[in-house]
Subunit: 343 residues, 2 copies
């Protein structure tokens, strides 16, 4: 069955029927607008547009993974302000021949990613479109905390990250090179969250590591709690790494009027990145420094704060401008949606 | 110059530079997320996805009008809950060959429509896309009022509308029939808000009336204040008419478990609709009852409430179900985004 068979209101009913609503949703889907609780008296809002062929490919990612990824990249923006996500809203454009199975998987992906942080899919809009288009907006609550912006970094403070770097970029490179087929990891909703940590051995070992990276491309795993956690620890600046560490830290350097100095030896290259770099003849550090889409948090803290796991100190703030790696100015690039180039 | 020449961050800077931020915006564009004031402790949220070729055509509407329309249809959803809109967020996908002039006009359209209600364009996202795609999310504040949903209508109450009906549908029909050229109304940002009321005479009279309708298709003019106003008056149910009066009132009938009886003689057919109906051999009442996109408010009130202008009583609530016109069940249809048919 396709969404064209169901019709607009059938589709809306089908989606809404799969979405539980949390306590923060005072009025959920089905009216002109939803009503959410905003106990802080302020609300944090972020929006993203995801276009098929540009942000995802249906033959490389399942509907379930696309839903998880689309939710994750918005929820991580909220957490990167130091807020707790409360709800997302999804504008969904799709062709009439999309199957209801695919739609259900997409819906479940949104639902399950939101469930990780106690948020709800509280509303949306559907439309016909030649390709799949997702307009996702996430909201969050600051719980009385100051929002952690990009402009608070000061010389003498340290830069730290929480979460994976370069994994999604390496996974995308593997898919683009045809090094692994799109079916390397089986479909939704199998839980592969422990994949990276498990002990693998034998002939399939390399393929298993590569599949971890392809999976990372399909579905980021932001360490959501680290966002509000960093705010509580006293972070002075923060963002989620979506376009590449160097480019994104450049935003902090510019907004704060400081220079950021990174220590390239601070980044551990795990076995997955090492195997992928060997397979493709690539430099794993380039993925780590310029790869987007893992949605790690990068934050700046006063140097006297004792940072708990999983925060990893990668550099420091100095007087000046720009992002420097071991004393050298950044010569890597990041992602520009219009120029679409690296360098 | 095109947006491809500017690059992603150039485009973002150019858009943000044209957007003043109101007092409700505590942190505006430029970070991972915006922070808005939510003094009520609740926030009203609605989202819409607009796809080129389906919701608008760049050869039929200017960038300015597309921005105004996209903002209007979201802001009216907020007002239809009885809330005051505070901000909108815009996900914008567009081809690299879009000119900066067009982008500026679009931005100004969003800005000017928001200014009508004191709202700000507080954030967004841009991406490259083969066609123009707009994901718009609007937020609002209830100011201590109960949200006016679709489920509160009770037998004995009256149904009233505030705003135009059928104008946008007639304008679209005129464009589709080639009866008027796309250049019938000159480009942005000329103010034609008084057009419908002015006295016209002479040979150009008919064309002038038709141009009013084409203009209505390009740019709805919701009577925003009527939304929160209806909540203050004691409205028991409300929505904005976006898919056609009969279809939309059907949502109130269903959600409230009531029958809605409309009086077809209650709808005045103005000169613009009359001329267009004559030109196309159409029934103006069909536009009024089934045409979407004017974003009039339709609300239900207790019968003892004295309704001020511009509210117009068009029917009453009875026991039963469905929407009936002069005792006859609705045989007109509305708009279904997947079935794309009327009937």
């Amino acid at each position: 069955m396709t969404v064209g068979d169901l019709g607009e209101f059938g589709v809306i009913g089908r989606i809404a029927g799969r979405l539980p609503q949390g306590a923060a949703v005072l009025l959920g889907p089905g009216d002109d607008a939803a009503v959410l609780s905003a106990p802080d008296g302020r609300v944090v809002v972020s929006t993203d547009l995801l276009i098929e062929g540009r942000h995802f490919r249906r033959n490389w990612s399942s509907g379930y993974d696309i839903g998880r990824k689309a939710a994750a990249q918005n929820l991580s923006d909220i957490a990167a302000m130091g807020a707790d996500p409360t709800a997302i809203f999804v504008g969904l454009g799709m062709p009439a021949d999309v199957t209801t199975d695919w739609l259900d998987a997409l819906t479940d992906g949104f639902r399950d990613e939101c469930a990780l942080v106690g948020a709800s899919v509280a509303g949306g809009d559907i439309s016909r479109s030649d390709t799949v288009v997702l307009g996702v907006t996430a909201l969050g609550d600051l719980g009385g905390r100051r929002p952690v912006t990009r402009s608070g970094a000061r010389p003498g403070q340290v830069v730290a990250v929480a979460g994976r770097l370069g994994h999604a970029a390496a996974g995308l490179a593997l898919l683009q090179a045809g090094r692994v087929g799109p079916d390397v990891v089986s479909g939704p909703p199998a839980d592969r969250s422990g994949a990276e940590g498990r002990v693998v051995a034998g002939d399939g070992e390399i393929e298993e590591w590569l599949s971890v990276l392809v999976d990372a491309h399909r579905r980021p795993r932001p360490m959501y709690a680290c966002g509000p956690g960093a705010a509580r620890l006293g972070a002075t600046a923060m963002l989620d790494v979506s376009d590449g560490l160097l480019q994104d830290l450049g935003h902090i350097a510019e907004a704060s009027g400081v220079r950021i100095e990174l220590d390239p030896d601070a980044f551990p290259v795990g076995p997955a990145l090492a195997e992928a770099a060997r397979a493709l003849g690539a430099d794993p550090l380039e993925w780590i420094l310029t790869g987007g889409d893992d949605h790690a948090f990068a934050a700046v803290f006063p140097s006297d704060i004792r940072l708990p796991d999983p925060w990893l100190v990668i550099g420091r703030i100095a007087e000046g401008q720009g992002v420097h790696v071991a004393g050298r100015a950044d010569t890597w690039g990041g992602w520009d949606h219009f120029r679409n180039s690296r360098g």
